[in-house]
Subunit: 393 residues, 2 copies
């Protein structure tokens, strides 16, 4: 019961800080005495901090405003991309406090080499964050399917990975790099599209709506289905493979063995090919955004085709699972100006037997930072949901 | 606590009857004394019955075998079809004990006339069931969208209904028909595809698997998404509109205003047209099944085309929501021999980035009885889930 009340108080402050003890009591329905005792425990555990006197409309002594401790337990995030590695530290509020990113051609590279570089990067990002921000856990975003078995990447086609025990291998590299504290952290690995959707749920502008489909394109096209404020993973953990939803049954052959998959219209290679450009070595999203902004007709046509195909596939998803909103995230967010018109056109033409409004398709402000933020934020979300794991004495 | 234990005991018996009190105690973790007391209350409330001595491998006095009371509270179901009306009574175990069905051309008919006929049918089916089976509630299956607002059918295009307060109107017709007891029952209305999926979950051969997509075709093509043992309704209650998932973006125009929807390939009219037959006045499913069994090449080609389109749309759904199984139900179940091959072909070609097995597509044994069974069974399921509402003294 006390453990639940600790969570209640912490979540009130997390949602609406700064708050006085009196405001927490009013919002939570707990007595002021109970709130004071719980707050002392949360301050003692390093989860809450006092900002000083809060403005109060009431007569009497104003309370000190409470906030999540900006120097409390932190979340450490890692991201393995096909062409980059990244790491970050977020504070209890999910705010990024240190961020490191390096370019790296990880295609076909041995997993141990990739993870050795990632271990070094994790060392640098925690040094940048400083000693006040102590990671309580590690989240890892990967561009592939993650198994129910703990820490196993079943397949990451673009990396050439299959059955890689990412967490165990990363712990070993962290130890080798002289980072035993990081090697000992609780760790979780998840698909980048899932983590991008969770970041949107926890930190994005659409955080309030707990039912949406978040669409992103990193190595492949992925969707995260957020249902009633939780990630929907499906019966076997493979939900959200939007990239292989058929758009035209007899369309172009796909690497997956099928034909006409969404990736053949809106995936990186397909859009670059339609735009008449191939692997210039530059980041594809930035390249396309620049050329589209400059009015390049081939790029504009390629992005309109991609937006139309995305709209067709998403219209099917909307008819099937009835989300309250669709959020365009990841790299697509930076291409939103050119993808959204085709998507809206298809959605309004194809979602007709139930209500649909153009406004229900929105662009994420987190964009490509989403998966890494989600990986790190998952750690602090778990603490805010159950502070007893850290604070109960 | 006692209320929860009543539910626990009743659910043990419901799942594995006949059971002795000792077996219930062993399975539930409750003491024999507690089980005896709870069983007495459930027998007193008319929910459990004794069958006589149960076989027992143990030394000592064999217990009397317990079963759900076959003369306990019952579920009353009603179904409004485009070309028929039906009603049934199921006992606590969900077994149908009385069943009435009449042909009726309900297209464009005033709702009050349809509901007057349905009221009379409900009178006949409860008379057939006899006085021992007393309905505890009424479930109504309709071929249309049902609103969150209680008892309102938002749209049933094939009936020509819009914003019809079905429950209120049916109560009024039941009173007019001299059936005040039925008019006073708690009542719920739901979409036929949803109720077909729930019937499969509760009563079908696939009852054990709590994650599947159930596909049916009555007035339109509908899917029920069963997730973790519950019906997934979506953010606004419109989930499962499989009929309007696009199969070919530039395919034939659909009545919904879009193009290339699944209904244009696998819906009643599309299949009859492709088979070269139109509205003979006979039941379309039976007609097609007879002609396909006789080897009619046009019918075989039409059903293969329908199965292929179903497979394409369902492959998208599988990639997106990752169900453990796909169940072909409703009228499609009777056409399974001719639809399943094309569906399996498409599923195995298009579900490639995650595991898929032919066996995960199965045909429902409930078929077209599903929606009405689901409507009636919902009443008794609610009692088994919380017997306190009936039995607590």
């Amino acid at each position: 019961m006390r453990r639940q009340n600790l969570a209640l108080v912490l979540q009130e402050v997390a949602a609406r800080a700064p708050l006085s003890r009196a405001e927490v009591a009013a919002a939570s329905g707990l007595t002021r005495a109970a709130v004071s005792s719980l707050v002392e425990e949360l301050i003692g555990g390093g989860l809450l901090a006092e900002l000083g006197p809060a403005p109060s409309g009431r007569v009497g002594r104003p309370g000190n405003a409470l906030t999540l401790n900006p120097e409390g337990p932190a979340g450490l995030g890692a991201e393995i991309g096909v062409e980059h590695l990244a790491a970050c530290v977020v504070d209890l509020a999910g705010e990024p406090r240190a961020w490191q990113r390096i370019a790296a051609d990880n295609r076909g590279r041995p997993a141990s080499e990739v993870l050795a570089d990632l271990a070094a990067l994790l060392g640098r990002v925690t040094a940048e964050a400083g000693p006040q921000l102590r990671p309580a856990g590690l989240g890892i975003a990967v561009p592939g399917l993650v198994g129910a078995e703990h820490g196993l990447v079943i397949r990451a086609a673009n990396l050439g990975w299959s059955e890689v025990p990412v967490i165990a291998m990363l712990r070993s590299e962290l130890r080798r790099a002289g980072l035993p504290d990081l090697a000992g952290l609780p760790a979780e690995v998840d698909n980048e599209a899932n983590l991008g959707g969770l970041a949107e749920l926890w930190l994005g502008e659409h955080a309030g709506t707990g039912d949406f489909v978040h669409i992103s394109a990193e190595a492949g096209i992925g969707a995260a289905l957020i249902v009633a404020g939780r990630l929907f993973r499906g019966a076997r953990g493979f939900a959200g493979e939007l990239g292989h939803v058929p758009v035209e049954p007899s369309g172009p052959a796909c690497a997956c063995g099928s034909r006409g998959c969404l990736e053949q219209y809106a995936g990186e290679r397909a859009v670059l090919a339609a735009a008449g450009t191939h692997g210039t070595g530059r980041d594809w999203v930035t390249l396309l955004a620049e050329r589209a902004a400059a009015g390049d007709p081939a790029v504009l046509a390629a992005l309109d085709r991609a937006g139309t195909a995305l709209g067709t596939a998403v219209a099917g998803a909307v008819n099937l699972i009835d989300p309250a909103a669709v959020i365009l995230g990841g790299g697509y967010a930076e291409l939103g100006d050119w993808l959204v018109p085709g998507m809206r056109r298809e959605l309004s033409a194809r979602v007709t037997v139930r209500p649909w409004s153009d406004d229900w398709l929105a662009v994420s402000s987190l964009g490509r930072r989403g998966p890494l933020l989600g990986a790190a934020a998952g750690v602090v979300r778990a603490i805010v949901e159950d502070p007893g794991r850290v604070a109960v004495q």
